[in-house]
Amino acid sequence: MLLSRVADNIYWMSRYIERASNLARFLEVSYQLNLDQSSLDDEQWAPLIEITGDMKLFTARYGEMTRDNAMHFLMFNPEYANSIARCLSTARSIAKGMRETLSDDMFWEINALGRLVPDVTKEKAQFHKRVLDLCREVKRGAMLIEAMASETIERGQGYHFWRVARYLERADKTSRLLHVKYFHLLPHLDTVGTPIDDLQWSALLESMDAKETYIRTRGLITPDNVIDMIVFDRGHPRAILFCLEAALDSLCRITRDESAKPRTILVKLCSDLDEMTPQGVIEKGMNEFIDELQLSINEVNNAIYGHFISPKAITVGA
């Protein structure tokens, strides 16, 4: 039996951990990529902020797009709700409010991860010293928690809420990553195929632990092959279709009701995606494709909330 409140908590805890770990991946790869730039002027931090969708907040708070500001915003800022530090501490507070449903191992790990990122707002020198290590620790921590969930939690509704949330969050983040690469790193068609372009595609793959698989299975980097891998590859655990089908699989275990709204929306989304090809995406226009995808993912989220967490039918007029 799963309380609606607890389901909601599991859902958000899972999303925040996944969000932090995705950001850590992006930050780590951008950092590495920028280290390879020949001059400071060539550094690219704006795309990273674009992924969060919070560019306005960033500009209002920091003004200037510098490496320090970007790192502080994404990793350390205790006031920004989607910084890695805040995502993890929010996940921790949520966990504290539902620890009876978690295994001890899981709770301890989430508890520790929630306190991992130090508040170093006043010591900029710390950013560089710590940021790569922290990214790695966040990634590892999230994977450890995932493994613990997988090994210690029974496959009940709680587990599947955890899984739905994680995969929807991941699908969303993967789509944003692709979006940013396509529109912000690639303003001019004439850079296609240049060394910079290759470097960017390969960084994108790396942030998804997909680089080696890619070159082994697909060889040289071409945009349509990359899109094929990170959108359509059912064998790759960060590909959008993989994530959505995994979320659907769990959703079907949460409710057997085929007409439940979250299920019908997600079923349609998966089958629509299944009928598309990388070439089709490029022809349709990446912008439109990703906008539609993100809207649909949002719809699924809302439907889950309306159906399981706060259904109107539950108010009793006795």
Binding site: M1, L3, S93, R99, T101, F308, I314, V316, A318
Partner: protein
């Protein structure tokens, strides 16, 4: 670190006798500590405190805003009680809780104990915990106080006295279980050799009791622990118990009354709850009946309780017996209901509502401990021997204004036990809170209970809100023999 130079200073010490020798029951432990390499005890103490933080065993400090989490200080030297001595305490507690439950039931029915002149009428009518809404109710198996935490102290002769019975929502049992986990790690060999009575099955005993008192006809009850929420100081314990018992942990807004049953809002819709172990006070249970502004409970709760579709543990109205004036009459209740002599004595108590006792109390404020009848947590009391003239004068005024609300007791010379202080041992005062689970026909007493220790030198205040810490409590069935080599 060893016990050389450790002074009992004329107090009863739980581990060391007045000749400076380890008591028989504590010999194995003392030998083990004495033979540890220098610094090792300190290391283990540090590791235990770290483990508590990592496990998130923290409580929120009231009124200090978000993010203020503290751990209750934990002292690594366990308190040891001889099994034979404990047997008497256990029998005394069972006897006491049985009588108290009979008393509560009597008060809410015929009040024979009053008609028979054993206790005065005003005893319940002036009690803050008395609920007229419970008059005539019959909770399942006749149990009102399912869970009790009775505070015991020992005097300079080592005699156990009952200090008070916490019958509403006693807390602290999670620390007993967790302290034990830590100590098994720290002293596995001594622990094993000492034959320490186990506490690990408390959650199972608890769940069995809750099943036993489920509403009639419910075969497999759904059990929930009702918590005020994550900001409550004891939230950790609520979550811990729910997890260990396999119960749902619910907050007031998770519950809804469907016209007959109390139900939980789940992802599959409303699900009936049969038994609620509630960790909120009576006044918050049901905004329709008690405090209107309460969001902690659920409208309809009292209706469901009265109609018997849900069992509440402890039952509403139980607080009538959780009152320091009622406490003074418990020995009389035991004689009246059970026809037995009390096995555990009360601390001699003066009821300030009696003119003579009030005069005596006012004349001896500098020697007595004076307590409000219905407070807990050490709030609002006066310890005469530690007070200034000004404090006593102020207190005397309050006392005269509301004598029914006060009792006075002699200042006991509380027993002590060694604690680790800056790399050596010093004696500190302590008490003991055993937990009793009552199911009507029988009770279960958790062997030992929570030892609370006043960490400030000379202090008698063991409450966590007043700077107290905890120790593991070992009830041991085997004492050292010659064959025992020292072990750690």
């Amino acid at each position: 670190m060893n016990f050389e130079g450790y002074e009992t200073e004329g107090f009863f010490d739980e581990l060391i006798d007045n000749q400076g020798q380890a008591r028989d029951s504590a010999k194995l432990l003392i030998d083990a500590i004495d033979s540890l390499p220098e610094g090792e005890l300190r290391n283990r103490q540090d590791a235990s405190e770290r483990a508590m933080r990592n496990m998130g065993i923290t409580f929120n400090v009231y009124g200090s805003g978000e993010g203020t989490e503290r751990t209750i200080p934990f002292d690594i030297v366990p308190r040891i009680i001889d099994g034979g001595e404990w047997d008497v305490v256990e029998a005394g507690l069972k006897q006491r809780i049985k009588a108290v439950n009979r008393f509560i039931d009597d008060i809410y029915h015929d009040r024979k104990i009053i008609t028979d002149g054993v206790v005065p009428e005003w005893l319940f009518s002036s009690s803050k915990g008395y609920l007229p809404q419970c008059q005539g109710l019959n909770p399942p198996k006749g149990v009102w106080a399912h869970v009790t935490g009775t505070d015991l102290v020992r005097d300079e002769n080592g005699t156990f006295f009952v200090l008070e019975d916490n019958l509403r929502v006693p807390s602290g049992v999670s620390y007993v279980l967790l302290n034990r986990t830590l100590m098994k790690r720290n002293f596995p060999e001594v622990f094993h050799k000492s034959r320490v009575r186990r506490v690990v099955d408390y959650p199972d005993q608890f769940m069995k009791m809750l099943h036993h008192v489920a509403p009639d006809g419910v075969e497999r009850p759904t059990v929930a622990v009702l918590t005020p929420g994550v900001y409550n100081a004891a939230y950790f314990e609520h979550a811990f118990l729910a997890q260990q018992m396999g119960a749902l942990l619910v907050e007031g807004h998770d519950l809804v009354y469907d016209g007959k049953y109390i139900c939980a809002r789940t992802v599959e819709g409303l699900v009936r709850i049969d038994v609620i172990y509630r960790r909120i006070n009576d006044e918050f249970l049901d905004p329709d009946v008690f405090r209107e502004d309460s969001y902690l409970g659920c409208t309809g709760m009292m209706k469901a309780f009265r109609e018997g579709t849900v069992t509440l543990a402890n039952a509403p109205g139980t607080g009538v017996a959780d009152d320091k004036v009622v406490y003074a009459f418990v020995p009389d209740m035991i004689k009246y209901y059970l026809g037995e002599d009390p096995l555990l004595p009360n601390v001699p108590t003066h009821l300030c509502c009696e003119a003579e006792a009030l005069e005596y109390t006012l004349d001896n404020l500098d020697k007595l401990v004076v307590k409000p009848a219905s407070e807990s947590g050490g709030y609002g009391m006066l310890i005469g021997t530690k007070s200034t003239r000004k404090e006593r004068n102020a207190f005397a005024k309050e006392l005269r204004a509301d004598p029914r609300n006060y009792i006075s007791q002699p200042t006991l010379s509380l027993s002590r036990a060694p604690v680790v202080v800056d790399g050596h041992f010093e004696g500190r005062h302590l008490d003991l809170r055993p937990f009793i689970l009552h199911r009507g026909d029988d009770s279960y007493v958790l062997p030992g209970g929570l030892t609370r220790v006043a960490l400030k030198k000379g202090s008698l205040m063991v409450n966590s809100s007043q700077g107290g810490g905890t120790k593991d409590t070992w009830v041991v069935d085997r004492t050292a023999t010659k064959e025992d080599v020292s072990c750690s």
